[in-house]
């Protein structure tokens, strides 16, 4: 069917913000249709309207030629369309199986069929190559794993249409590969798929066509077989941008000055005997599969989690074992955390307050915090990370996913931290802004500061790092200098194939 | 010790029973000494009734608009106070006087600020006199002082504020407790174990009734032991639970005294359930309908009836007399009596010897 899903003149106005402006296009039955655009372009908003999360201000949606007006997520699910949401939304106190089946639990009479729940969940988890169990509590799982649960949940619904809103932003290559296998399977079964991503290689790998939004307006729909990345990006951004993660300036790493030294660090999450050094002016990449425990190591260094043993030296000075994020931040280390919604920003705070939170001392006038200085800083730093809308009074909670991420980057850029630990820093950020952020990282190291970049995006670690450490199952398994970066070799370390 | 403000005036009337507590009472009274120093003695209503004679004839040409700031009319005791005050107004009207009583109260006995609101509103309104029953020792201090500044004559009804000295018609909690103690002691042959179920210590009545009961027992009946003294917050359910535990832990308890009738009924349930009815005496306080019915039915042993219905009538009477220019005693104990199986079928008027009001010629 040519017009399986049709958007007709969709407009969506939020208080103080027009997110979509008269958008019309259609999706074919059984295709994988990409939705592209910069952060804040309106992609998530459009899918949210399709899935009944909120109504459009104006316009209509047709599926199979019939107008649909879903009043809630439940309506959409009942109709047979499922969605993987952009933000991780799980219930920490429930088990994996309960989270996955939520809303569609199998029953025996009035009681839940627990056995069936766990079996079916486990089967799906196995199919997705997940190594956690169906009866585990979700609360303790990493962001990547939670993302896999969300994907599994959508697959479980047996829907006719599945939307993926940046499904791979917490995943590494191995999981992405499995996921793509599954998406192709779904396509074979005739299921229609909508796919949002900022990763161009993914788009070209699995999508058939792509519709592009810019500033809430529909631009065009392109057949991906007949187009190039440059054209796509041109349409998205309206100008030329460098789309590659690459160093534009020479490395500034000073191998002789160690700013951070970690020795034999081990912690309750399961990582063990981690030792490494970070040099002045260096971008140190950390690569590994989901579950490699890079996040946990960083949190332990930062004092966010307790450790069992090991030392951390900051510029030669040992940090106390019972350090807290406060003491570490005071020393001059910052951590851009992976999970922006749960750990990144305060929900009732606007951009100015969130951006100022880690550097509040800077905006003091005598005894009092000066709101104006906060706002000025917010606008200035917001600019450098490409925040839209760059409005200090905008609630961070209401920003698009990518823009919320930019707020968190802005928060740490506002501090004068000498060492920035960035855990998946470009998660959900569009290519235009990514290039800006890469440039920014180079500026930071050029000013004599250092960066640890934890990333699951191969191109990013390879492109940006001066040196790379690879983790697997809580252990450091490899160290590569920039000249040794080879995809094959990195993957081998990460998955633990034959060691060379 | 038992005492507080009640004890000081009591010295002069009931000397023979207060010896045990005088010292303690005197110490506690120290800060308020100036206030009580000038006081005359407390008299019993029944003792002065005849002396006072009829209500002065001058009252005929006057208008009496009396406000009654009560505690909480959810509580039957206070409803009886309210109804009594209204009945007094009616009785006086029948005598040809122009008397109206408007009663208002807080919402609930913990609503101390609500009562202050009521008192303030009354002192802002055009009342000729106000009768007031403060919830706590001091929640109305400011409001009463405000009314005093306006020069409104006032009288306490059943409860007093600890800071402001006003004419009062109160139940003698000490005497109440002692009546209960005496009654119990006699019934159990002046020996054995007894227990007390106390009200929320928030209320002076709870503290005085409990402490005076215990003090009186120790002072007068060396063979009676108060083995338990436990709080049940004026609550029926809690009283039943506490009594059950007490009775099981002390199987020899012969009588339980409860600080009010609601708790007494809870205690009674515990006694009935343990098949101890008749073996363990239960004595309450207040004289609620429920308690009186229960005594008639042969279940509750006794209650010390404070006759709230008549207490408020006495207050109204005294205010009317005062407004009409008559000199009346400042501190009056309202009548109370033990009601038990012997006299429960008599009417309240009979028990009290209540004769109503008369007008002087």
């Amino acid at each position: 069917m040519e017009k399986y899903i049709e958007f007709q003149n969709i407009t969506k106005v939020f208080p103080g913000q027009k997110a979509l402006d008269n958008v019309s296009f259609s999706v074919r039955e059984g295709e994988i249709h990409a939705l592209l655009g910069e952060n804040g372009a309106g992609k998530s908003t459009l899918l949210n309207i399709l899935h009944g999360m909120f109504p459009a201000t104006e316009g209509k949606v047709f599926i199979e030629g019939k107008e649909v007006k879903f009043k809630s997520a439940l309506d959409a699910i009942d109709f047979g369309i499922a969605k993987v949401h952009q933000e991780i939304n799980v219930i920490p106190e429930l088990t994996v199986a309960q989270n996955m089946m939520l809303g569609g639990e199998p029953r025996k009479g009035v009681l839940l069929d627990k056995k069936k729940m766990e079996q079916e969940t486990q089967a799906l988890l196995d199919k997705l190559g997940c190594d956690f169990r169906a009866d585990e509590k979700v609360g303790g799982l990493s962001a990547g794993k939670k993302q896999m649960i969300q994907i599994a949940k959508a697959l479980y619904m047996n829907a006719k249409v599945i939307s993926f809103d940046e499904p791979t932003s917490s995943l590494s290559n191995a999981e992405v590969k499995t996921l793509f296998g599954i998406i192709r399977d779904l396509k074979k079964q005739g299921i229609t798929i909508l796919y949002i991503s900022h990763k161009m290689d993914e788009i070209f790998e699995i999508c058939d066509r792509a519709s592009i939004l810019r500033d809430g307006c529909y631009i065009t729909t392109l057949d991906l077989k007949e187009t190039t990345e440059e054209v796509l990006v041109q349409n998205m951004v309206g100008r030329d941008v460098s789309m590659f993660a690459q160093r534009l300036k020479p490395s500034c790493a000073d191998k002789n000055t160690t700013v951070l030294k970690v020795e034999h660090l081990s912690g309750p999450a399961g990582f063990d005997d981690i030792s490494f050094e970070l040099h002045k002016g260096e971008i140190l990449g950390f690569f590994g599969l989901v579950g490699a425990m890079r996040t946990e190591v960083m949190r332990a260094i930062f004092g966010a989690d307790p450790t069992y043993g090991g030392e951390v030296y900051y510029k030669g000075e040992a940090l106390p074992h019972n350090r807290t994020p406060h003491t570490v931040v005071e020393k001059g280390i910052g951590l851009v955390s992976e999970n922006r919604k749960e750990e990144g920003f305060v929900k009732n705070f606007d951009n100015a307050d969130n951006i100022a939170l880690a550097s509040l001392k800077k905006y003091m006038k005598g005894f009092f915090v000066n709101r104006k200085m906060k706002e000025e800083n917010s606008v200035k730093v917001g600019e450098t990370v490409g925040l839209t809308p760059n409005d200090p009074e905008f609630l961070t909670m209401s920003l698009s996913g990518g823009n919320a991420q930019k707020v968190i980057l802005a928060k740490w850029l506002s501090t004068d931290a000498d060492i920035l630990i960035m855990d998946e820093p470009t998660k959900g950020i569009d290519i235009g802004a990514k290039a800006e952020i890469y440039k920014l990282m180079e500026d930071i190291v050029a000013s004599g500061k250092s960066i640890i970049m934890v990333s699951s995006e191969m191109t990013e670690v390879v492109g940006m790092s001066d040196r790379m450490l690879i983790m697997r199952e809580g252990k450091l398994v490899g160290e590569l200098e920039r000249e040794e970066f080879e995809e094959e070799r990195i993957i081998t370390y990460a998955v633990g194939g034959s060691q060379s | 010790g038992c005492g507080s403000k009640e004890a000081a005036p009591a010295e002069t009337t009931t000397t023979e029973t207060t010896e045990a507590t005088d010292d303690a009472a005197a110490k506690e009274e120290a800060p308020a000494a100036e206030e009580t120093a000038a006081t005359t003695e407390v008299v019993k209503y029944n003792d002065i009734k005849d002396e006072l004679g009829g209500i002065p004839a001058a009252a005929k040409d006057m208008k009496f608009n009396i406000g009654f700031c009560g505690k909480a009319f959810e509580n039957e005791f206070w409803r009886m106070e309210k109804e009594g005050s209204e009945a007094a107004a009616k009785a006086l009207q029948e005598l040809g006087l122009d008397v109206t009583v408007t009663a208002q109260a807080a919402s609930g006995e913990s609503d101390v600020q609500g009562q202050e609101t009521v008192m303030k509103a009354m002192s802002n309104g055009d009342y000729d006199a106000i009768m007031v029953a403060p919830i706590s020792d001091s929640n109305l201090t400011a409001a009463i002082e405000a009314a005093q500044e306006k020069g409104i004559p006032m009288s306490y009804c059943n409860d007093k504020d600890a800071n402001v000295d006003l004419p009062s018609v109160v139940a003698d909690h000490k005497d109440t407790a002692e009546l209960a103690a005496k009654w119990i002691a006699e019934k159990i042959g002046e020996e054995g174990q007894v227990a007390v179920v106390q009200g929320l210590p928030t209320a002076e009545a709870a503290r005085l009734r409990t402490d005076c009961f215990v003090d009186y027992m120790t002072a007068n009946y060396p063979n009676i032991e108060v083995v338990a003294q436990q709080n049940a917050d004026w609550d029926r359910t809690k009283a039943k639970d506490v009594a059950t535990t007490i009775l099981k832990a002390n199987p020899d308890v012969k009588a339980i005294y409860a600080n009010n009738d609601t708790m007494a009924m809870g205690v009674l349930e515990a006694v009935k359930e343990l098949n101890l009815l008749g073996k363990v005496l239960v004595v309450g306080t207040d004289g609620t309908t429920e308690a009186l019915e229960s005594i008639k039915a042969g279940e509750l042993s006794a209650t010390i009836n404070d006759f709230p219905y008549y207490q408020s009538q006495v207050v109204v009477e005294m205010l009317v007399r005062t407004l009409a220019g008559q000199e009346v005693p400042k501190y009056i104990y309202s009548p109370h009596a033990v009601v038990d199986a012997d006299n429960c079928n008599q009417s309240n008027e009979e028990i009290l010897g209540w004769t109503g009001f008369t007008l002087a010629e």
Partner: protein, 320 residues
């Protein structure tokens, strides 16, 4: 076994706290450990326990229900009135439960449909239901509930154990099954754990919330039925401030005030801890004033046992 321990930290800690309490009171006064005394403790845990189970459901959804004390009084008085009027006892009970369910439903609707803050909404109905209880009874206790009614719930089963204790435990089982074995239960946890995630998964959040308040209030209505049987009187002033005791039973039992977490057995144990404590203090004839201090300290210590225990457990893990 280990898993059982790990998943039920809170219950285990409360059991430990109860055990410590029994040892101490038992050592001080042997009466405390006598079977009849222990039966009393259970008996006296019934009402707060039922109310605790009742208030637990709203708390798990992330809310609170302050009005339980008033509903206890209101539904109790209605039941007492009917029973005194000679209505069939079973019918009285059914009406009492329906009143509770409806009152809880009103709270639920105010919160889910009208989007009021749970605290404010139920504070409003607390006052309103209390007023209704007074209006129904004109402020007088409803006396003389017949033995035909009282006998049903006071029936002694084995030895001195009353049927009301059984009702309490059965209700705990029902709530347990509801929470852990049915869809509604999962949804109640889901709404409290992350309301957004629940909504996105197609959970009818408003319906679930309303049902949680309504079913929760059934527990309170049951407590009302038991109370009427216990006292033979419907008292419109009863239950004032008891929401605190109910919340305390639930909270000591591991229900998180932030929502998303709570277990009926924890609440049952919490209620038993409290009634055991009160009975112990009475048996010892501890001075009222010191009882306050002792109660406060016990609450804090009992709550800390869990924290302490989980600390030890995580240290053990380290060595392993």
């Amino acid at each position: 076994m280990k898993k059982l321990l790990k998943n039920n930290f809170r219950e285990v800690s409360v059991i430990i706290a109860i055990a410590i309490m029994f040892v101490i009171f038992g050592a001080l006064n042997s009466v405390y450990l006598q079977p009849t005394n222990i039966i009393d403790i259970l008996d006296q845990a019934t009402i707060y326990g039922l109310m605790g189970l009742g208030i637990m459901l709203p708390i798990i959804t992330g809310g609170i229900d302050i009005s339980v004390g008033s509903v206890l009084a209101m539904s109790g008085c209605i039941v007492a009135k009917l029973a005194v009027a000679g209505v069939n006892p079973i019918l009285c009970m059914i009406v009492g439960l329906l009143v509770g369910f409806a009152a809880g439903g009103v709270n639920g609707l105010l919160i889910s449909k009208m989007k009021l803050q749970p605290f404010i909404a139920t504070m409003g109905t607390q006052s309103a239901f209390r007023g209704l209880a007074y209006i129904i009874t004109e402020g007088y206790p409803v006396l003389g509930v017949p033995d035909s009614y009282r006998g049903i719930l006071n029936l002694k089963l084995v030895g001195d154990i009353r049927i009301s204790v059984l009702v309490f435990l059965i209700w705990a089982v029902i709530i347990y099954v509801l929470l852990k074995k049915t869809r509604l239960g999962t949804y109640i946890y889901a709404v409290g754990g992350n309301v957004e995630a629940a909504r996105l998964s197609g959970v009818r959040v408003e319906l679930v919330t309303t049902l949680a308040y309504a079913i929760g209030m059934l527990g309170t209505a049951l407590a009302g039925l038991v109370q009427i049987a216990k006292l033979g009187t419907g008292d419109p002033t009863t239950g004032n401030g008891w929401e605190m005791n109910a919340i305390a039973a639930a909270a000591i039992g591991g229900t998180s005030m932030a929502g998303g977490r709570g277990n009926p057995w924890g609440t049952v144990l919490g209620a038993i801890l409290f009634s055991g404590l009160k009975v112990g203090l009475v048996v010892m004839n501890v001075n009222t004033y010191w009882q306050y201090v002792a109660t406060g300290l016990v609450i804090i210590v009992a709550a800390y046992v869990e924290i302490f225990q989980s600390m030890i457990a995580s240290k053990k893990k380290k060595k392993a």
